[in-house]
Symmetry: C2
Subunit: 480 residues, 2 copies
């Protein structure tokens, strides 16, 4: 990269750093219609790895995939009162089709509780049909005013799971189970140490009785809600008549849940792990885990170097390491190093004529830039070395992010300290406020309750804001 | 199944057989908005297997996946004259978003040549950026008047590949390469013996110079266009300014292609292989390849039978056979046999107390119903037996479908024989007609030119319709 292509530093302008990086690293581009985005092959490959890691976990809990239509009759949205109130301002509406004005406008789904609720009402007859556990991968549309690549776009890619159960207990268990699936994925695949907890009433999903969330802290100290799981109680069951005959042949309403994780999670990966050189991909999700840079000046060295590079590539591929050789002509090794650093490839192998002579390679790790992260290792047993290094990087990223989160989570007991804390991170506080008081704190400080963590200290304390006795801890932060 | 649930026979009413089967076999259901469909888990699992088989093949040719927005500004569609003419009558139009009327209406993509063309124009600078080979999995919308599950729905799932090249030759090679990929997939994964060829001018994609197709014959003798590959020449490159600097630093227009296969292919699988008992899944794509039915009357036999069933399941799973135990209570074995036959599971293992005593199982193959397709085999080496059987079924389905196609493809030399032939199958004829004559044949007989097969006899003959000398053979048929 030339000087003018350099990224601004994260300290200087985190927002600008992010926007530039997404474009430069070829993750995504802007679409032609306002607020839409194109996910480019490198970004899509990351999203596919996320999909695959989640899908395996979903299936292990008995969930199957299906596909529901993107068009929903406007009247469906209106069946659940809170739901329509929440989503009406964000709808995209199809009024014309096939050259004619439609009798009833169609909404492009903002989420699919309604259309799936209607289907479940048709499909479910008796307790034998329960539980029903379906997930769908796709995209939905919400008319956002201020958009940002991956984090907030008119159309966004996600998965939405929808389940129906015979009892309230089962629905609550499923809500928590899927949240735990998300947390396991975030921690063990994305190396993002999320906080699990419950949303406050005012931050709940429109139509839910309980919204659970995983919250992550980004590199600038702001929070990103990374996935949510909702216990919808019988709200949608009553709105759509999702009923079943129980063992006593009595008609009962089902209990339903829904849960989703979107491609904004890509934004979390960028903002948690990225540094001033660019992306840092967690190895388990990285589209390319190792890049090999063949280095030669003389044409006479070329074939031997490329042969060795190809042999190493084969060996790594055999061990299921996702590997690529960068054999682009007319680009210097230095350019290539920077380029793959920008793209966050976890490990880099450099191989030139001198390495050939010594039967070694240079091996650089992305999480520790510069000389410190570079070692010379033998070509013997290289696959195992690389494989171990990738695991080490994965662990290091998680450790680093966990330290960052902990260093930037402050237990505070008064409003002044609170205001200071949420400027750069999370505030962990006793909270006894009501919705209105929560709203006032938000207006004052831009900080919202990210969640009441499942992990509570027990006992009680004094609410930092109201001074009232509180029986639970909340995490506050400014959020994306 | 009870008597009333029985399928109508294919002979009696093929159309009714198809529609009922799709619903009964839990492949799909109708969506609430007219013409939309829900793909249920069993149908979606089949589509996922299709996706995976195709995706592997695409990647082997250097194609990468990405995602482009579903909303396209109306003005984009208008940039390529033939394209807008072809698609304007079928558009779904979003006129309102976020509670406001939009300044420019957005179209829900009917296909993505325009939005991708615009992106390529931005991304491509020089010959070094070429070729660009991108595919997208997703859904598109075309406002169809008469709809039919899987075959023709307002929204349909598909993949669309879009490539840009430096030369006309490369674009033509890519067009053919992807058609060959589709043919290879159809024949070797779906056991559908397709005919590869070129579309007539009047059947070309709107905006293409050359449309290539794979055509399959359904169980009722009608044709199904199963995938297409288009050489778009420089039409979209000129409309969207997709240009590159060549080796001489001269600005040149690119040559582009697009190619797609949709979930209507599921319809082809149903209509090619299905019989009066229901679906017959080609083993390589079957969501469930083998079902195990544990049989016991006495509770005392239950645990031993289930233990054996589970052991067999583990062994088959280990060999990567997709296997399921049907241990539903309160359903008779006979009911289960019919149920899995309806769903087209290729192989069925029955195991009861007597089988346990003899260390054997009953093994039934779906492609040969009844006693003839059932054998008693030892539990020793069962995995290999099942694995071989699945391969045999795959081959048998292909052979059978090939015979059916050949038996129902008639070389005809006059219009009377032609009319007879297209009532029940394909007519293979010398053709020298023009667009108008082609249109007249269609109005007369409902048959259209499915393709000019790549596989031509050479030489020339007399056109069955115009009496003029013709230098190529065409396949006519009535199409879905």
């Amino acid at each position: 990269m030339s000087e003018k292509d350099k990224l601004v530093s994260r300290k200087e302008d985190f927002n600008e750093w992010y926007n530039t990086l997404v474009l430069k690293a070829d993750l995504a581009d802007y679409g032609p219609a306002r607020g839409t985005m194109i996910i480019k092959p490198y970004g899509w490959s990351l999203w596919q790895n996320i999909q695959s890691a989640l899908d395996t976990r979903f299936q292990a809990t008995g969930v199957e995939n299906a596909a529901f239509p993107m068009f929903i009759p406007m009247s469906f949205l209106q069946k659940e009162a809170q739901h329509v109130e929440g989503f009406a301002p964000e709808l995209a509406v199809v009024t014309h089709g096939g050259g004619e004005k439609l009798a009833e406008p169609l909404v492009v789904r903002p989420t699919s509780e309604t259309v799936i609720g209607q289907a479940y009402a048709d499909w479910i007859q008796s307790y034998r049909d329960l539980p029903i556990l379906i997930n769908q991968w796709g995209s939905v549309v919400r008319w956002e005013k201020r958009t940002k690549l991956f984090l907030r776009t008119l159309e966004f890619h996600w998965q939405e799971g929808h389940t129906a159960h015979a009892t309230a207990e089962e629905a609550q268990e499923r809500t928590r189970l899927m949240l735990d699936v998300y947390a396991d994925f975030a921690i063990n695949e994305a190396a993002i140490p999320v906080i699990r907890g419950t949303k406050s009433e005012s931050e709940r999903f429109a139509g839910a009785n309980d919204t659970q969330t995983i919250e992550a802290i980004m590199g600038d100290g702001k929070a990103l809600q990374s996935a949510t799981s909702h216990n919808l109680g019988q709200n949608f069951a009553r709105a759509f008549n999702i009923q079943y005959l129980d063992h006593n042949n009595q008609l009962q309403y089902c209990w339903t849940t829904s849960w989703g994780l979107s491609a904004r999670f890509v934004g979390a990966i960028i903002m948690v792990h990225g540094d001033d050189q660019g992306l840092v991909m967690p190895p388990r999700l990285a589209p390319i885990q190792t890049v090999i840079i063949p280095i030669y000046r003389k044409e006479t060295d070329k074939s031997a170097v490329l042969a060795a590079a190809n042999r190493i590539k084969s060996e790594l591929s055999e061990a299921r390491i996702r590997v690529k050789i960068d054999d682009r002509e007319n680009l210097s090794p230095g350019y290539k190093f920077n380029d793959w650093e920008l793209r966050g490839v976890p490990a880099r192998i450099e191989i030139g004529p001198r390495d050939l002579a010594k039967n070694s390679v240079a091996l650089a790790r992305r999480d520790i830039p510069g000389r410190e992260g570079k070692q010379f290792v033998s070509q013997e047993g290289l696959t195992e070395i690389v494989s171990n290094l990738l695991q080490e990087i994965q662990q290091n990223l998680l450790d680093r992010a966990t330290r960052f989160r902990d260093d930037n989570t402050h237990d505070v007991h008064n409003y002044d300290d609170f205001k200071e804390a949420v400027k750069t991170g999370f505030a962990r506080v006793w909270w006894a406020g009501d919705n209105e008081e929560e709203q006032r704190v938000k207006e004052d400080t831009k900080a919202t309750i990210r969640c009441f963590p499942f992990d509570q200290p027990g006992g009680s304390g004094t609410c930092f804001y109201t001074g009232r006795q509180a029986d639970k801890i909340a995490i506050f932060g400014r959020a994306y």
